[in-house]
Symmetry: none
Subunit: 194 residues, 4 copies
């Protein structure tokens, strides 16, 4: 029963991901999601309290998976710099290979109330903290500047990558996103100075 319930829960989530990516959150009627999932409208409400809950749950699940991948790959790396490159690489390639998810995270999820954005902020936090952890480690190993403001820098790194992804999406994905990893990581490590 639990597995069956879980199945339908995931079924709806998968359907929602597709519908949100194609039509955007506000233009995605619950009935459209239900139809895509092959269930009745009312069934949605057996698994989610409100329409917004689908969005939040979707984000939590998918971001959870992503953070899992980050941790998994980073464990296999040997140095902090290498790990940081891995983070950027996963960030770019995962979203490049999963355009639906990219649209939802970069475009649709932002189309929400301040209240919801705080909720999303909580879900993003583990990722931001992962970056911070690497920064702290780098400072301890004397690889990064001793006076580095890690709280500020984690935002700068995340924001920089985030903007690259969004810009790539809005441009219509006319170039390779993963090809930007080198330039991005070099910028992170060296800055722009000659």
């Amino acid at each position: 029963m639990t597995s069956k319930k879980k199945e339908k829960y995931d079924l709806i989530l998968e359907a929602a991901l597709k519908v949100f990516a194609e039509h955007g959150f506000h233009r995605s009627q619950v009935s459209k999601i239900a139809k895509a999932a092959g269930v009745a409208d009312g069934t949605i409400y057996l698994y989610f309290k409100r329409k917004e809950d689908i969005l939040i749950s979707l984000f939590r699940e998918k971001l959870g998976e992503l953070v899992g991948k980050f941790h998994m790959h980073i464990e296999q790396t040997t140095g902090v710099k290498e790990a940081l490159r891995k983070v950027c690489e996963i960030h770019y390639t995962e979203l490049e290979n999963n355009v639906d998810l990219a649209f939802v995270t970069q475009i649709e999820l932002r189309q929400s109330s301040l209240e919801l954005r705080k909720e999303i902020g909580k879900a993003v936090k583990p990722y931001i903290e992962l970056i911070e952890k690497l920064l702290v480690q780098g400072v301890e190993e004397n690889l990064f500047r001793a006076d580095l403001d890690v709280k500020l820098t984690r935002l700068l790194l995340f924001g920089a990558m985030d903007e690259v992804v969004t810009s790539w999406l809005i441009s219509g994905r006319k170039y390779s996103l993963s090809a930007q990893v080198d330039g991005t990581v070099q910028f992170f490590l060296q800055g722009i100075q000659a």
Copy 2:
């Protein structure tokens, strides 16, 4: 008459800024904006084709003003690095001193369709290009790396600053935004490397 028209146009825009900042785009009814501007609902439609147009126009006007300020201040600077610091300084202080505008640009404006976001992209372009121009100049003056990918880097810089502002807003503005200028610029110039 044209000046009078301009006056009412601005009147509506100012009212919209306040209303959007307080209630968010989707919760800001046209009638609420009209009331705040002291005009009739229908009058709005003499100056703006659709509700979304108010948002776009607001952004264009305000961003235009901002870009103007950037140009004005940069002309008074002597070097590229100094100019880049000035850009960051203006970016942070202007939004810190104009919280309404900050809310609209960082939160509400993102709550829009892909179509609208493209429109916004066009309005942001002059700013992004201003950054790019400084980067190109820096490379030419051998201040920045010769192999710098300026198209990518302009996004990284903008994205990094953008995230810092958004994060500051969502956190509830518990710390000084302008105090982040030093750390941000240092990161831009030096990167994180020791």
Copy 3:
């Protein structure tokens, strides 16, 4: 403008009376009322806050008219007993001649929440108080028993008439309601007579 507004207000109220009488409150969709009134659905909400407000307003207006008629006719009577007969006569004939109103007051209005019934109770109060006033006057004139519990008796009179009307309606109006005036009044007077 005010008269025009008043006109549409009444238009909706008249339409609602017909629709409520025919289909009952819960089966009367707002769209049905709007159609009957020849206005758009949304227009209803320019004059009434919620669907329930239509019912309450309808009751207030109609009961207000009725109480007005009571007062008007009673002023023309000479004695208390005659006045009491007039009350019963108006009660029965008005509802007999306005079956739609009768249905709404006797059947549909009762189909409401305890909260709403209290609201209705307030609207009925002037009528109950009118009856009480007559009873007090009768006691003072030694026409009615000196030990008469006027608070209780006003309920007994109102309830008795109310039940006669409801029963007449539910029976399918197979007999004359106004023909019950004599029997009712005789019962009342003998009951309260000194």
Copy 4:
């Protein structure tokens, strides 16, 4: 098995009485009743065809019990007048001592369609006929007026008592209901007395 069936039937009815009394008919979801009865939603439909059937059955059962009590007590009385007082006494005390039932009969049961009200009318009939029987007997014994319209009077008596109960409920039960018996009966007897 039949007794077991009867048990569950009563179980649901008792649960429904409580739920209806607390939340009202329209706000009492079938699932809420099922939960209160400790059965599954679907089980309700093994005993009742529709939600309304629960209400009707509830009324029939409870009113049947009441009418039984009336008959039982009246048999023990010696005169018609005494019997009539007993009727009023039972009417008031039974509902005063069973507030849940009072709420359902006076408030919730009225919240139903004309169709249902006819159904309820049938259930009330034995009680009304009981009153009529007493009236006829009284007339035969020359205790009551010879020209008494018993069909009308039975309604007047029932309606008067009904209104007293409803008014007592809506007022928030701030006074004793059974204390109204004397005043009520005195009014009745004087009204119909020979």
